[in-house]
Symmetry: D2
Subunit: 369 residues, 4 copies
């Protein structure tokens, strides 16, 4: 595969650029027989646009999904599914200057070298956060499949800047509260402070980072492989594919470095349903690359949006002289809330791929009524 | 690929079990024309066995490499290279009880479900740390290739338990000092304290975790891809393939969550050699999944060895009753130092794969004299 | 990969169904910097519709290409390229009966079992010859790339039924004559007889098969691999991907079975340009899976169109009783001429993939002026 | 994958050279729980050495298999299986001259260019027929798996030179007779004539080609995919991976070119067991890339061994002058009989891969008693 595909048996390939005609996704390996409507994508697409527009970019695109192939009589056929959203509300003029003045923290310079200057630099092109819409589209299908197996994937904001919620949320809390707050934090007291931190950053012409936590519930025991196709390895690959992510950890994560084995080891026990479970979940539901049956817990660090209103130092690549840059265009002071459905999507995609590889999800799908 | 291979053009596949005949690696895609001797592997193999045996497992195997294929007249031919080390000094009796009493923190239970009980459980089998010898073998070849392009990959211990070195090391310091201390920390003051912490854990019948940092120097600009085959995504996948790793971060890593864009963005500047560089390296040398030409910096969290001498709670999988376990066998109180060459290896392997994909490393190799 | 992709570094994935919205192709791995216009696809698209409508299906679709992604300022960017053609002129009613009465020689029954009855059976859906339009689209791009390296891929009709041209054509003859005749045979005397044979089959309510020959000129020495990624193996895989193909041979092909080594071995000689060539080309330009520098010559057997007007015996899959079938709809009495650009396309795609894997075609493309 | 692997879920990678230490195979994706002994490989290994040594190379190696990994308590574990055979009886001196004088019909010249002269040319190295031992090893495992599903793969000699058996053999005849004759032809009258033809070629210092037919019985309906991962496409790729193969056809094969649709279409009918079958099998058991449930029938053209005793014309690659070559070493006048188990092996491997991809063969294997 040449670099724009993820997965082995449930293969997701994205295409499209920020200022091109469309953003799209091709899914090869989706089982036949899954009911799917264009409306099914709307909730996830809308998730990318938090309600309070005060904290988001002025560029608001109401995206709607178009299914181009792979469907017949309202069900998937087993053939490749292509879903696209149109790009609208594009002001490409804003981006002309970045052609030669690479934006600090962005991929402009790296991409220019990589593609010999032929890359579409408008709005970041293929490197724009806009491209994550394709992931969200595939995520909708993946989550719909997982729900048939009672598997849920839930992401939410854990921290914005120095505001961090230390609560462990119940599933009910996450579902009930995370969409109440535009910051997607189920701890509504924290959520309010997070919003204030974002507004403060925005008013300072700046941006701010954060942490997203994601849990996957009811993943069966025995999913994944030792070594290279470890479930955590593949989840991490998918998560780092979201370009704002700078760190990924599972369970106790970086905390394990300070722990003793006697603290970190999760004792096994037989639960009320006569099943094996662990008393704690420092492993984050994955041991030796294989799921343990406990909740899979992961956290990702999201960097502050590189596009800020302040003047920044850069280089003019034509003259090879130092220069200053004032980025125009419309920017989110914080992309963490917008990234929540994206994180959820790549986790769900990876789980479906692994469950398909071991035949847990079959090639022809029998929907539960 | 069925799960035991890493890479697309420089493909590393491992095989062998802890208590089987051999541990081995098959490398497909190594360029023709690289000089290679069986002795070349020795330094890295020896790295896995820190000098002061006080802090390591009593099972000491002096490994030596056997090249079975892919060589002719002292040079690689372009055909698949197979390298193995023999397993010696095996006491399988130590492991009989874990068949039905899964060790907390180990993959015993997950693996049993995954493989229907057919997996070789002796010493953890395919899940043993012993299997990382195969990675080290491939790493030797990868590092030898990289050195022809002046690219160096250097890993070292950053923290053991709560003992953490906050120094930024120069390359000279790393090379000079990291092998002085059995803990592989170039900060020799810290290294001493780390050793004490390990001995304390050992004496308490316990184990302890830590952090390894790895830098890759002189990686050219423009290596990697946006999204799924991002350089950081592939590095993370390789790093999480080492099963003790519970967290991976690049550059400022989880620190970005608390930063503002104006702090995190690395300003571009023209350096003395008329080249573009960044003033800081919060990005860890990777922007938008593509290398920026700056040092690639990553850190991994290594969990404390799950095998400890203390009694632990587990489940008897035959009777499905709670049970207690006293793990016999020989255990490292801390695997961090031993993991240093492994981390170095998987990073080098991933870099060679990416450099091969873009043709930077050609299929036929012209060695510099 | 899940089954709808071809290639490793120049990866072609097709999507769309005969009676769906579109037929499309996604190309991942096309080098950046190639000039490309939507008009560039027209000549190949038109090739699929031979001029004399007497010998083709009454369903005539003038296809035009839409580029959805991967282009900027008239050049490829290195990002995935998606090209589609719309489906028009669709009469789905014609196909209702085949839902339960599988057409002999078609994939209706196999596909129904494979996809649990969820496949889009209209017009053969994903199995329709219409889907080969996607291959032709990718072939246009592949041939455009190859032309920059002076590599030409030329296919033409060699036989229709028992009418076979035994001539060896010069490149000039192929280029000059093959489009003169609707049958795409450069031997114009034979071409006339072929047309008569097709008309005779049509008038008899029947269809007829044939042979297509394809040559690839100026492929450099040293392309391909021993064993599994042999150049001939990958070409054969691509050719058998065209579902009407029932046989593939290279050079002397099945003729080698009756030859002695002394006849079949192609003697090496030094030519006027001081280069190594072979006196004969029984090997068809490939030895040990690797190109020899001589023309690559291959032939494929194309079966007669399974859709015929005559009554045929089949099975009613609902009642599981024997039944008779009169296929409605519009059918070509001979698909051989229509398959010529498809064969050319899959050969060109495979060559570009192999040339990209060895770095002969770089990731960033420098166009010759 | 870098070129020496075949398959997606049952992945076979070969290694080793003709005059190196070993020939070996790594199988990744074999289900856990299959009983396997080193003795199991012997029958297939012996198949490569026809009884009457008169018609084979004087180099007779009695190969025996060594299992290095992936086994525990006599069963496969699900981990990678490595099996090797040692190379013995090697006279490398015979091959020194071919370094600069490429043998006509061999890959010497192509390989030299491909690998920059670093390839092991002794005995053809990686291009030697000896390497097919690795395929036979993997084939033994694949056939053992298939037998649990009542699927049989049977290959036999169909033609040697102009001696061709036109009989359609019953399974009983094939099993009973093909090993009686050293030529592996179940038609014992023909087999005798074939042997005479081989001896005649040998006496004339020449070699001779032939045709092998292979049938796969009881493959279930619905295996394979449309387009690129078509079952016939993947079988053809595997078959052309055997480097002496110059043509592959299914069912009526090249015969379809001269047929009418009304002749070629296989009528469906309901059989005595209330199952769908076809009256004829011109399709060779595959329609639209997917198995139809009928026997899969394929034929391959095997070229005459390029190594012959006669003087041949070649080029001295050092001086770039025309030269003559008298090949020393030991050669088979006909490799067709020796190739029979190889063809059987690659077909079995491909079937297991496809059956694994759709979950028909599960990851954990329940052996029938």
């Amino acid at each position: 595969m040449a670099g724009n595909s993820l997965g082995k048996e449930f293969v997701v390939t994205t295409f499209g650029e920020s200022h091109g005609k469309i953003i799209g996704v091709l899914i090869d390996g989706c089982p036949a027989g899954l009911s799917l409507l264009e409306e099914d994508f709307q909730e996830d697409l809308d998730q990318r646009i938090p309600a309070q527009t005060i904290i988001v970019s002025a560029r608001v695109e109401k995206d709607t999904a178009n299914i181009l192939s792979g469907m017949f009589n309202g069900k998937t056929t087993g053939a490749p599914i292509v879903v696209t959203v149109d790009n609208k509300d594009i002001k490409s003029d804003d981006y002309v200057q970045i052609k030669d003045l690479p934006r600090p923290g962005h991929s402009d310079y790296s991409a220019r070298v990589r593609y010999g200057g032929f890359n579409d630099y408008r709005g970041g092109g293929r490197f724009s956060g806009r491209v994550t819409v394709a992931l969200v589209l595939a995520g909708t299908i993946a989550k719909k499949l997982l729900r048939h197996y009672n598997i849920d994937v839930l992401a939410y904001t854990k921290a914005i800047g120095k505001i961090k919620s230390e609560k462990r949320f119940s599933v009910v809390e996450i579902c009930k509260n995370r969409n109440v707050a535009a910051t997607r934090c189920p701890d509504l007291v924290c959520a309010k402070k997070m919003e204030e931190a974002i507004v403060a950053a925005k008013n300072a012409g700046d941006s701010i980072g954060g942490i997203i936590e994601c849990i996957a519930l009811n993943v069966p025991v025995g999913v994944g492989n030792p070594l290279f196709d470890a479930l955590d390895a593949d989840l991490a690959k998918a998560l780092f594919g979201v370009s704002a992510v700078k760190g990924v950890e599972f369970g106790a994560g970086f905390g394990v470095a300070e722990m003793f084995g006697s603290q970190n080891n999760d004792a096994f026990t037989v639960n009320n349903e006569e099943k094996v479970e662990t008393v704690t979940d420092n492993a984050g539901g994955i041991l030796g690359g294989i799921s343990s049956g406990m909740p899979i817990i992961m956290r990702v660090a999201i960097k502050p949006t590189p596009s800020i209103s302040r003047e920044q130092k850069t280089v003019n690549l034509l003259t090879m002289e130092n220069a200053t840059l004032n980025v125009g265009g419309r920017h989110d002071p914080c992309i963490v809330p917008k990234a929540v459905p994206v994180i959820e999507a790549v986790v769900a995609i990876t789980l479906v791929d692994h469950l398909t590889r071991i035949g847990y999800i079959p090639k022809v799908f029998e929907e539960r009524q």
